[in-house]
Point group: C2
Chain length 220, copies 2
Amino acid sequence: MPDTAPAPSTRDRLIQTAMKLFWEKGYGSTSVADLLQAAGVNSGSLYHFFPGKQDVLLAVLDAYRDGIGPMLLAPAWQGVDDPIERVFALLARYRLGIVQTDCGYACPIGSLALEIHEPDPPVRKALAANFNAWTDAIEACLVAAGPRLPRSLDRRELARFVLTTMEGGVMQARTHRDVAYFDSSVRQLRLYFDHLEREAADKPSRAKAPRKRPTSRGTK
Amino acid sequence: MPDTAPAPSTRDRLIQTAMKLFWEKGYGSTSVADLLQAAGVNSGSLYHFFPGKQDVLLAVLDAYRDGIGPMLLAPAWQGVDDPIERVFALLARYRLGIVQTDCGYACPIGSLALEIHEPDPPVRKALAANFNAWTDAIEACLVAAGPRLPRSLDRRELARFVLTTMEGGVMQARTHRDVAYFDSSVRQLRLYFDHLEREAADKPSRAKAPRKRPTSRGTK
DNA sequence: GCATGACTTGATTGATCGTTCAACCAAGTC
DNA sequence: GACTTGGTTGAACGATCAATCAAGTCATGC
């Protein structure tokens, strides 16, 4: 099997090209003509598959969401099993994106979320679904961390805080054209996690076995 | 003295109107025609004062920066003296903006920072200057907190983290149309601060006077 | 062989975009 | 009372925008 790419359909080509262009230039700054040219498609074909530009955006947002697992988490977590280290491995993945784009990186979801000021309900929901998929994955890590985090700690809330850290860090790194601003936020988040782990270790969950911290720390 | 508003000049009117429109609708989605109509100005006048639309943006960004003190910090900090509480009073101010706009609020700087994907250098610098003004103010609070925070803690880094928390929280609250997402991030930041203060209290600064926490929570 | 339906083609539409420009106005200045 | 200066007016321009549509292609079923 020489090629694994079985000639993507016109529709898929449009979506994939739009994923790239919306990410690079934003939704409003990507004209339909840009998309058509980059995808090698005529306008009639686009409007055969999609009622309008916004429907392309919806398809793109669905594709982003579906890609979070295979395209983002899978490579980020390769060889990383410790659930807490997975949180920071994901953030490290974003850091990689930042340096690789010379600090031009922006989270496509975050960018679109702030760019679209009066989003139609379906667009807003699609953006929210992306954030949910992201935080759900992090929340699963935090739940898997079990007694290493304080019992009373709201895992879902902390997961949202991790997303906050990523988005805020990316935004500042981009604006200042300096990864250091991203690193600052991640480092502070790490310090917070350290405190949480210490707190959990000091006063263990309940009457359960007061076992020590897991020895395999897993990070580099 | 019946009126304190001395009939703003055309230029000022343009800038103030643009501040409002760019904030509400974004830069790209605000057409020059929108701006002209809202400000009650003819196109020729705009181009008499500004070479182009982007120069209006630059003036707006400068105005934002100059307004951080009097328009944002002053009301947020009214009656709040404790430096750490000031940090959270500012965040509470943003919360107010969120609920008042029915979760439609977006930080104008953050929005613009993510909307403008390939900013000309002056625009990028103006955005960065806004972020700097913001974090400088927070950093001053954290420095003023003195021994209540760990000696080794990098105040500037934590200040950036506070900005990160605000931007990420605003972004999620807006996307989900639910303040709870903002509250989540702020609450986590508060927990982090609690840990930091406890750490600083446990192992006081150095061999200095092991004095207790300052009794008067008021700083200034 | 021919009708059907899915898909493609690309010129074209009308709206809107940022910007330009010649004419105009009012208050000083000589 | 002519000249200058700083500002205003609003029609107009070309570019670009998202969207349309009549005509064409092509595989399939009958």
